[in-house]
C-alpha cells in the first residue's frame, strides 16, 4: 500500500507545532500502525531528517504507552490500542492524520509524545490500599463475593493510556479516575479508605486541570479496555456518599 501521512511535528514542549506531510510506500496490511511509523522513521533517518517521536513499548496492548489520535479518533478506527491497530484497516492511497493526545492536562513533550504524569498524581492521591509489606492477613481470611471480584477486575483493567481524556470534548479524566475508585472501593480490603480515596482522587483530578464531565460518553467509546460509561455514575455515587458523610462529622 502507498499512503500519505500528515503528522504533527513539534520540536519540544515550548515550540510551535505543525502538520507535516510524508509519503510511505510498500506498506503491508499485516503491519501494525506503529510498524508503519517505523518504516517512515527509517526513511527519515536515512534522509537525515529527525524521525517522528512517539510513545510505545509493549506493542501488545497492555502497557498503555502508545497514544495517537488517528484521523481524529483516539487509537484510530478500531476499538483497540494503536499498537494493535493493523494497516488492513486502511486502504491503498489513503491520507491519514496522526496527532498526539490533545488535552490541557497532557502537554506535548515532542511530536506525538505527551506528558501524562497527571494520571500518576491522581493515583498518588489515593488510588491504593494502605497495606505495607508484611502486614497482610491470610488471603482467605476475607472472602470476596464473585460479583464484587469481577466488578473490581473489570475496572482494574484500565491501562492508563489516556484515550478517554483525548476523546473527551472537555478533556475530562472521569473515566480513568472512576475505574480506579471503583476497583478499590468495591473490595472489602478497600473499605477503610473508601471515602478519603474518592474525595482525594477527585480533588487531585480537578487540580490537574482536567475538564468537567458532561456525560457525552466519548471516553467509553474510545477506551480500548471497555471500561463502561456507568463507571462514572458509580464514582459520582461514591463521591456524594463520601461528601455527605464528611458533612455529618
Amino acid at each position: 500500500m502507498k499512503l500519505t501521512l500528515r503528522v504533527w511535528r513539534q520540536k519540544n514542549a515550548g515550540a510551535e507545532g505543525t502538520m507535516s506531510t510524508y509519503e510511505v510506500d510498500g506498506i503491508s496490511p499485516d503491519m501494525s500502525f506503529l510498524e508503519m511509523l517505523d518504516v517512515l522513521n527509517e526513511q527519515l533517518i536515512l534522509s537525515g531528517e529527525d524521525p517522528v517521536a512517539f510513545d510505545h513499548d509493549c506493542r501488545e496492548g497492555i502497557c498503555g504507552a502508545c497514544s495517537l489520535v488517528i484521523n481524529g479518533d483516539a487509537h484510530g478506527p478500531e476499538r483497540t490500542t494503536t499498537c494493535q491497530l493493523h494497516m488492513r484497516s486502511f486502504k491503498d492511497g489513503d491520507t491519514i492524520d496522526v496527532e498526539p493526545w490533545r488535552a490541557a492536562a497532557f502537554p506535548v513533550v515532542k511530536d506525538l509524545v505527551v506528558d501524562r504524569s497527571a494520571f500518576d498524581r491522581i493515583i498518588q492521591a489515593g488510588g491504593y490500599i494502605t497495606a505495607p509489606t508484611g502486614s497482610a492477613p491470610e488471603a482467605h481470611a476475607t472472602p470476596v463475593p464473585k460479583p464484587d471480584a469481577d466488578f473490581a477486575f473489570e475496572h482494574a483493567e484500565c491501562i492508563g493510556c489516556g484515550a478517554c481524556v483525548a476523546a473527551c470534548p472537555n478533556g475530562a479524566a472521569m473515566l480513568f479516575t472512576s475505574a480506579k475508585v471503583n476497583h478499590l472501593n468495591v473490595l472489602p480490603q478497600g473499605a477503610p479508605e473508601r471515602e478519603t480515596r474518592v474525595l482525594d482522587m477527585v480533588a487531585q483530578m480537578d487540580e490537574e486541570g482536567f475538564g468537567g464531565c458532561t456525560l457525552t460518553g466519548e471516553c467509553a467509546t474510545a477506551c480500548p479496555k471497555g471500561i463502561p460509561l456507568v463507571s462514572i455514575t458509580s464514582m459520582n455515587k461514591e463521591w456524594l456518599r463520601a461528601t455527605r458523610r464528611a458533612a455529618k462529622r
Partner: protein, 649 residues
C-alpha cells in the same frame, strides 16, 4: 592477540551468605543473623532502585515503608508501564488450597527439577517458602484475583505440574500484580519517601572504593546526563531477551543497566540460558518489530501439526488427515502436545528446518482446534480460550475457529543475569540485583507462572531483609560528590560514548544493526546450538561491532528527546552481551534446559546433561571489550533434590 573464545578460568565463586543446616530453616536463620538498621538511621540512608516492574516496584515501595530514602528510576513515562505488565498466565504459590498434595517442598522440588538442576537449592527453597506470603500481600492490596462463587481464590494448573497452584487474574495476572506494586509505590511517592524519576535511563554505575555508590542516568526528555548517589544500588531492570531483536519483550526493554554493571565488575552468570516460548504468533515479514505470546494453556486442547510433505502450500483445510503429521503426538506419545516448553519449541524448529513449516516464510506450525470444537462444542472452546482467539484474530485477521492457528517459538525470558549471592548481592559490594535481572532461581529453564513469583519474592520480602545487613555494616558517613574523580571519569565516558554515536553520521540506522545482530543470534545461539555455529557467531559479532561504529547514523543531538540515540546506545551493549552469550553457550558443551547443544543429546534426540562436567553456574568476569573474559565457577550442590535425566517420551 588472544581471541575472545580463549577465556581463562579464575578462582571459583561461592555463595557465602546462605547458612548451613536444614534447608527449611536457612531463611529464618539468615534473617536472624542479618544486622538491622536502627529506624532513626534509615532516614539517613539512600537506596537507588533502577526499574519499576514487579521486582523494582515492590522493592522501592517496601524499602520506603521501612524508612529508607529511595530514589527510583524508569525509562517509561510512568512506573506503571514496566513490562511485567504483559505477563498473562499467573503466579505460583504453595498454598495448597486445593488440598491436592501441594507443599512448599513440592514447589521447591518442581522448580529445581524444572530448572534442569542448574539453580541453587537454598534460593529456590526460600522462593517456595515466600510464595504463600506473596498471595496474602497482593490480596491485601486489592489485586483482583479470580475467585470462586464462595468468594475464595481460584487456582489452575499450569506448565504440566500435577497440582493446581497457579493464582490468576484472567489473562492479565502480570498487569494486576504490577498495578498493586505501582500503587504501593505511588503511596510512598506521595508520602515523600520515594523520589521517582520517570523517563530517566541508567547509563552507568558509579563504583567508589570498591562499593556501588550511585549511577549515571540520562533524562530522556531534556537529554541531560546526571549523577545520583546512594548507599546502595538495586538493579531491577529486567532480562536481556531483546538482544535477539525479535522477542516478546517490550520494545524498549534493554540490557544497559546490567551490562554496564558487568563492565564495572559484577559477574554475569549463565548468559546462554534463554527461554524460547513455543506458542507465539509467527512473524509476517521483515517489518516485524516484536512478537506476541499466546498463553501455553492453548496446548491443553489444541493439536499441533504440519503437512507430511515438504513445500505443501495447500490451505490447511484441504490437507487430508492422513497427509498431516501430528509430530509431537508421534514423537512423544505419552506427553503429546503437552511436552515442556523447550522440547515443543525445538520440535517446531526441526519440522520447519525440514521445509514443512507453514505460513509466510515457512516459519510456523498449525495449532488446530477442530477436534476440540468437535469434542466440546464451540461454546466450550470459546469459554476457555475466547480472549486468546480474539487476540489472535486481531493480529492475523484469521478466524481460529475456522482456520487452524499458526504458531512459532519466540524468545521470551532470560534465566541468566547478574550473579548474586543468597542476599541478592552481586560481586560488587552494595550492588544488588532482583527479578529477571539476576540469575539465581530458575536454573536453565523457568517454569510457567514462576517469573511473577520470583519478582515479587525478591522485591517484597528478600531484598528488604538482606539489604539491611549491608546497610548496617556500611553506615552513611560520607557523601560521594559529583566532583569526585571517579564520578567525573564515569560521567565523561558516558558523554563521550553518546557524542561518538552522534558524530559517526554513517549510512545505517540503529534498527538495521539490531536486526542483523538478532538474526545472527537467533540462528546460532537460539533453539539449537553447535560448536561450529557458535564459533561462526563469535567471529561475526566483532565485525558487526566494528561496522556499527563506522556506519551508524543517529540524527539529532544529545540535548533533546532523541529515541534514535536511546536505541543506538542500547545496541552498543547488546553487541558486547551477544558475544558473552555465544561464548557461554560454546563453553557449556552439554545440553540442559533451554540450552540445547546438538552435540549433546541422548540416542532419541533429547537433551543430555553432563552433571560431572557442568554442574556449576558460570559466572563471567569482564576484562575489556572483545577481550577474553574470565570464568568463575560456582559449584552447585544438590542435597535435597537429586539430579535425574528428564524423559517425556
Amino acid at each position: 592477540m588472544t581471541s575472545y573464545a580463549d577465556y581463562t578460568t579464575g578462582e571459583p565463586v561461592a555463595d557465602t551468605k546462605a547458612p548451613a543446616g536444614p534447608i527449611n530453616e536457612r531463611w529464618d536463620k539468615r534473617r536472624f543473623e542479618a544486622k538491622l538498621v536502627n529506624p532513626a538511621n534509615r532516614r539517613k540512608q539512600t537506596v537507588i532502585v533502577v526499574g519499576t516492574g514487579l521486582a523494582g516496584g515492590s522493592a522501592g515501595a517496601t524499602l520506603a515503608e521501612q524508612g529508607y530514602r529511595v530514589v527510583q528510576f524508569c525509562y517509561q513515562d510512568s512506573p506503571r508501564r514496566a513490562h511485567s505488565i504483559a505477563a498473562q498466565g499467573g503466579i505460583n504459590a504453595a498454598k495448597n488450597y486445593r488440598n491436592d498434595g501441594d507443599s512448599v517442598h513440592r514447589l521447591f522440588y518442581d522448580t529445581v527439577k524444572g530448572g534442569d538442576f542448574r539453580s541453587r537449592e537454598s534460593n529456590v527453597h526460600r522462593l517456595a517458602q515466600i510464595s504463600v506470603e506473596i498471595i496474602d500481600q497482593c490480596v491485601a492490596q486489592g489485586v483482583p484475583f479470580a475467585r470462586e462463587y464462595g468468594g475464595l481464590l481460584d487456582t489452575r494448573s499450569f506448565g504440566g505440574v500435577q497440582v493446581s497452584r497457579t493464582f490468576y487474574a484472567r489473562g492479565q495476572t502480570g498487569q494486576q500484580l504490577l498495578l498493586g506494586a505501582y500503587q504501593a509505590l505511588s503511596r510512598q511517592i506521595a508520602a515523600g519517601n520515594v523520589e521517582m524519576h520517570p523517563r530517566t535511563e541508567m547509563l552507568d554505575l558509579i563504583v567508589v572504593d570498591g562499593r556501588a555508590r550511585g549511577i549515571v542516568a540520562r533524562d530522556l526528555i531534556t537529554g541531560k546526563i546526571d549523577t545520583y548517589f546512594a548507599d546502595a544500588v538495586v538493579l531491577a531492570s529486567g532480562g536481556y531477551g531483546n538482544v535477539f531483536y525479535l522477542s516478546t519483550n517490550a520494545m524498549n526493554s534493554n540490557a544497559t543497566a546490567v551490562w554496564r554493571a558487568h563492565r564495572r565488575g559484577a559477574y554475569f552468570a549463565n548468559p546462554c540460558f534463554t527461554q524460547i516460548h513455543p506458542t507465539c504468533i509467527p512473524r509476517t515479514g521483515d517489518h516485524q518489530s516484536k512478537l506476541t505470546l499466546m498463553s501455553e494453556s492453548l496446548r491443553n486442547d489444541g493439536r499441533i501439526w504440519v503437512p507430511k510433505a515438504k513445500g505443501d502450500t495447500r490451505p490447511p483445510n484441504q490437507i487430508p488427515e492422513d497427509e498431516r503429521d501430528y509430530y509431537l503426538e508421534r514423537i512423544y506419545p505419552s506427553f503429546g502436545n503437552l511436552v515442556p516448553r523447550d522440547i515443543a519449541s525445538r520440535a517446531a524448529k526441526n519440522v520447519c528446518d525440514e521445509g514443512r513449516g507453514v505460513g509466510p516464510g515457512g516459519q510456523g506450525v498449525y495449532l488446530d482446534f477442530a477436534d476440540a470444537i468437535k469434542r466440546m462444542g464451540r461454546g466450550k472452546v470459546e469459554e476457555r480460550y475466547g480472549n486468546l482467539f480474539d487476540m489472535y484474530e486481531r493480529i492475523t485477521a484469521e478466524n481460529p475457529y475456522e482456520v487452524p492457528m499458526r504458531i512459532y517459538p519466540a524468545v521470551h525470558y532470560t534465566m541468566g543475569g547478574l550473579w548474586v549471592d543468597y542476599d541478592l548481592q552481586t560481586t560488587i559490594p552494595g550492588l544488588f540485583a532482583v527479578g529477571e535481572a539476576n540469575f539465581s532461581d530458575h536454573g536453565a529453564n523457568r517454569l510457567g507462572a514462576s517469573a511473577l513469583m520470583q519478582g515479587l519474592a525478591d522485591g517484597y520480602f528478600v531484598l528488604p531483609a538482606t539489604i539491611n545487613d549491608y546497610l548496617a555494616r556500611h553506615p552513611h558517613k560520607d557523601e560521594v560528590g559529583a566532583d569526585h574523580p571517579v564520578v567525573q571519569e564515569v560521567l565523561a565516558e558516558t558523554e563521550d560514548r553518546l557524542n561518538l554515536l552522534l558524530a559517526v553520521d554513517g549510512d545505517r540506522t540503529p534498527d538495521s544493526f539490531h536486526r542483523e545482530l538478532g538474526e545472527l543470534l537467533w540462528e546460532f545461539c537460539g533453539m539449537a546450538r553447535t560448536d561450529s555455529g557458535l564459533r561462526k557467531a563469535l567471529e561475526r559479532i566483532p565485525q558487526i561491532r566494528e561496522e556499527f561504529w563506522r556506519r551508524i547514523k543517529v540524527p539529532g543531538t544529545g540535548e533533546e528527546f532523541n529515541q534514535s540515540l536511546e536505541k543506538a546506545n542500547r545496541i552498543v551493549d547488546y553487541l558486547e552481551l551477544a558475544e558473552l552469550m555465544c561464548l557461554d553457550a560454546l563453553h557449556r558443551s552439554e545440553s540442559c534446559g533451554g540450552h540445547f547443544r546438538e552435540e549433546s543429546q541422548t540416542p532419541d534426540g533429547e537433551a543430555a546433561r553432563k552433571d560431572d562436567e557442568f554442574g556449576y553456574a558460570a559466572a563471567w568476569e569482564f576484562t575489556g571489550t572483545g577481550e577474553a573474559p574470565t570464568l568463575h565457577k560456582e559449584d552447585l550442590v544438590f542435597e535435597y533434590v537429586h539430579p535425574t535425566q528428564r524423559s517425556y517420551a
